[in-house]
Structures are given as structure tokens and as C-alpha cells.
Amino acid sequence: MLKMTHLAKVYRTEVVETYALRDFNIDVKEGEFVAVTGPSGSGKTTFLTIAGLLETFTGGHYHLDGVEVSQLDDNARSRIRNEKIGFIFQAFNLIPDLNVFDNVEVPLRYRGMKAAERKQRIMDALERVGLASRAKHYPAELSGGQQQRVAIARALAGSPRLLLADEPTGNLDTQMARGVMELLEEIHREGATIVMVTHDPELAARAQRNVHVIDGQVVDLAEEPRFHAHAHVANS
């Protein structure tokens, strides 16, 4: 589903080159639930934005659903983001001026879907996250957990093949975080491929597989005893 080989991402200024990712290799199979862990600044969010075609990369190869994406133009990348990828962000990233219904509608609008089908999908997605009754509410009128569930509904409405989640519970209290995590697990059980970036070892442990990133590279966890000692990571 998602395969990066020898991928590099370099930020260049006139005087310095900074490698955000270096010789980065990962292969996520269809239907997997992968947690990407690592310390702050290790490059895991950069990995996620490149995986979501929000950022370009400097070298290496990236195949998404069998397509090499490095040569795609902005329109093609946007279309793939719209049709194949769902995003869930730590800060929810709902548009404050739009109500819940309109927020969930955004990706469907860019797909050129007819109004009746859009409405059906939106209500299905909101039912799924238990917020159908809040369709006319604005984000500011919802709790953090509810906002994240709206974001998940927005990600699900377009039936993407790949869900990319960046610290999806980072801004939530424990109870809300548990609810969101259960929702992600349920979505995964239904066949979605999920790649989740997280700091939280407990969350990472609930994924099928963990990938640890340090200094822009995927590392073998056996060589990282500190992380292993604290994280109780379940490797499969």
C-alpha cells in the first residue's frame, strides 16, 4: 500500500543542509495498522506529510498504492490525497466557520460528488462516529473528543484506502483518547490501512506493528533499549 525506499528529505539553506529523513525505508501492507514512534524531531511527522503527499521529498522512491508519486503534478497529487488518503490531525484542524456537516463535506466537494450522495456519505460518517445529531453544530460548540470524531468522520466520508493519523489523541484527555483509539481500531478491523504517528507507547502498543524513527531513519527497536524499556511495544 505504502512503500518508501531510500527516501530522503533535505531542508537546504545557503549555509546548511538538514536531513529530516535519510535512507528512510518502510513498507506498509494493505490493511495494516502501523504505529510510527520516535522522539520529537526524529522525522516521524515529516514522514507522515510526505506519505500524505503534502510535502515533496528530495531523493529515493515512494510508491503509494503501486504508483510512483515523485513525478506527479499538483493536480494529480491533490486527486490522490482526495480519493485515497484520509487525514486525522492532533489539532483536529476543523474549519471553524463551517458546521460539522460542512466540515465533513469538504473532501467530498473536491471529488465533485453529487449533493444527494454527499449528504448520504456525510450522515453515514457522522452516524459512525456517533455525532449525527450534532451536524449543525460548529466546532467551537463541541468538546475536544467530539471535534476529533468529526475529523475522523471527515477522513472516513471519502472511503479512503489509507488513514494517516498524526498524534490523534495528543490533545485529548484519557477517556476521550480511549474512545478515539477504539474508533480507529474498529475502522482498522473493517479493512482500512492506518499509519499512526504517536509519542504515546500505550497507543503504539495497540497497533499491529511499530516502526521506530530516530534521526530521520527507521531503526531496529532491539538496538534502542531505552525506548524498548519504557514503551512496552508489541512487535509483530
Binding site: G52, D74, S78, N93, D97, V106, R111, R154, G158
Partner: protein
Amino acid sequence: MFSYYLQLGLRSLRRNPMLTALMVMAIGFGVAASMTTYSVFRATARDPIPQKSSVLFNTQLDAFGPENIEKGEPAGALTYKDATALFRAHKAKRQTIIYPVSVSVIPDDPARLPSREAAYAAGSDFFPMFDVPFIQGGGWTTDDDEKHASVAVITKSTNDKLFNGAPSVGRQINLDGRLFRITGVIEDWAPQPLFFDVWNTGGFDEGASVYIPFTRAVDLQMSTNGNNNCVAEPAEGWANYLQSECIWLSLWSELPTKADVDAYRDYVAGYAAEQQRAGRFRWAPNVRVRDVVDWLDAEHVVPPESQVSLVVSLGFLVICLVNTVGLLLAKFMRRAPEIGVRRALGASRRDIYAQFLIEAGTIGVAGGILGLLLTGLGVLGVGLVFPEEIARLATLDPVLILLTLVVAIVASVVAAFYPTWRAAQVQPAWQLKSN
């Protein structure tokens, strides 16, 4: 997607009412200033007879000498000797001499008072040459010209006043105590600029109520009601005046082809050379044969203040637009997080361009509506700056209404190009990371 972007644009207008109000006012005032001055410029700079302006030519011939004219430009009128000599030569398809006179129109009903009316003395070709619109009858004939006939053409208003609008062709009109047979009634016709009589009106006037043959007017020794410039004081008497070097007549010719124009111009130059050879002119032939547009341009019919105010107001519009660019930039860049989210959810840069340009268009519509109201007020106030005869020509007609809205929308969209380009360059990854 257009309706979706339109909804988003309208929603965005409500989001920052103060910012929106500033932008709408900037566009509204800028557009209103330029459209108000444009309404004056349009009225003064338009082609008064577009269907024929390229085949109608005014004749200028220097009868004063280079020391008595400005910048080598012959005066805008002719002497009687020159006008009639060129007219009698019949070197054009149609020709007419014109000069304004003032007549007393005396009603048949003794209970009604006579009125002083503006009139033109002209040739029979005047009416077909200038496409004068008749509602009854027609112009007089060439034969009437040659026989110095007492005939007249009157306007609808005159016909309404004298005959209560009834058919009057064949009836008599009493002018200065003499009876003239009416051959036709025309609309209240006064093309603006009044191209055929710039010499006397400066280009803007209400026109005449009555038209009579030039030959008859000269017979009746009707002096010009307009400008009369003499290089030397004429001797006493009408006959001496006609032979004097006073200029007071306009001569217009209809020349359908370029060959006709060239031949006519050569003829006029030849005539002037002949006058030089005869010792009347002590200078080389100096003639102009100009079509309507060139003639109006040469006579500077468009008031300089109209051109200056148009340029100043367009400058003001540019300043307003520069302000709008800044305001739009602030408005759009505050929404960088939203742009990041939209890009992540599948919006291409093209989608972002469309969304924000349409949003700018909605601001333009609002600015256009405000601009329309202000243009209406501006047109009403044109008389405070321009002479009355020009101010009355400035009107808020459907064309100006449409133009005001179009200019406002186009100006807003143009002002939005740079802010929209900046918005489309927003890196979604950075926005989403920074949140």
C-alpha cells in the same frame, strides 16, 4: 464548484465585517470616482455621428495669415468669399455652409407671445448629410437653395408649441415677421458634441429650433448669432461684410472615398494657392480637411478638466486597489490554516485560486453596489465641477450601471491575484505541523 465557492465567499464577507467594510468602501469609492468622471468623459469624447463620422469633413483655410493664427492652425471658420466659392465648385458628394442665427418666432395666435429661438442657416444637403431624423415631411430642395426660397424645417418642440403637434408640413411659420413654408419636422435633434458648429458652441449646445436656407438668410442679411472674427474692420454695409476677411461660416462636405478626400483636399489647397497668386493671401496655402473625429480632437472639444479628472480618479482607483491588495492579503493569509486543511483534503492549487478569486469577486459585487450608489450621487453632483451644458450630458444609464459593476468586480479580482497566489503557495505540511 462555483456555487460552493460563492457560498464560501459570502460566508467570508460576514466573518470579518470590519475588514470587509474597509475593502468594500475602498472599491466602492474608487470605482465611483472613476465612473463619475468617466460619465463626463464619455459624454464629451464620444463620436456624435458614428455611422458617418469618417465621411463628413470640415474645411479650414487660413485667411488670416500666420501672424494671426496660433501654432500654424487655420481658424475653425471661413469667410463668406471662401465658403461660397468652395461650395459653388461642387467638389463633394454633398456640401453645406452653416451658421447660427437668432429668429423671433411669431405665433398665429395674437394672444401668444413671440419667442426668440436659435436657428441654423444651412444648405439643403445639411439634412441628408447629417442623417437628421424627420418625423414629418423632409428637408427643402436644392432648387429651394438656388431660388433662395422662404422654407423652413422645425423641430418637434417648435411644432408642438406652434401647432400643438399637428401635421404642419406646407403650413407657414412667421420668423421675424416673414413667412416661411414648413417642409419638414425633425426630432429635437442636437448630437453631442454638436460637431457641425464647434466654432460657435465649443461643442456642447442644445441645438436649434428652426432651420432655414443659407441663401435666404444671407438675402435677409441675418447676421451670425455666433462668433465673428475679423482680421480688419469691414467697411459699412452687408455687401461689404460679405466681401470682408471676417470668418463666421462652417463648411462641411461629404466625401465617401479616400480618393474623394484626396481630390477635395487638393482642390482646397489649389484654391488657396490661387488666392495667393491673386495677391489676396501673402502666405502659402494652409488648409485642413478633417473628418468629424479629427475635427473634434483638433478643436479640443473634450474639456481638459474632464481628461485630468479622469486620470486623477483612475489614479485614485489604483490607490484604492493597492489598499485592497493589502487588506485581501491580510484576510487570506489569516486563513492559512484553513488553506492547509483544504489542500490536505484534496484541494489543488487551482481550487484555491478559484475559491479565493471568487471570494474577491463577491467583495467586488458588494463594492460595485456601493460604487453604483456613489456614482449616482457623483453624476448628480457633476454640475458642481463642470459647466451646465456638459454636466447635463452625464447620466447613469444602463451601460454605465453595467460598467460600474464590471469594473468593480474585475478590479477586485485583479487586486486579489497576488493575495490569491500567496494563498495558493501555503505549504499545507507547515500549516498542519504548526497546529
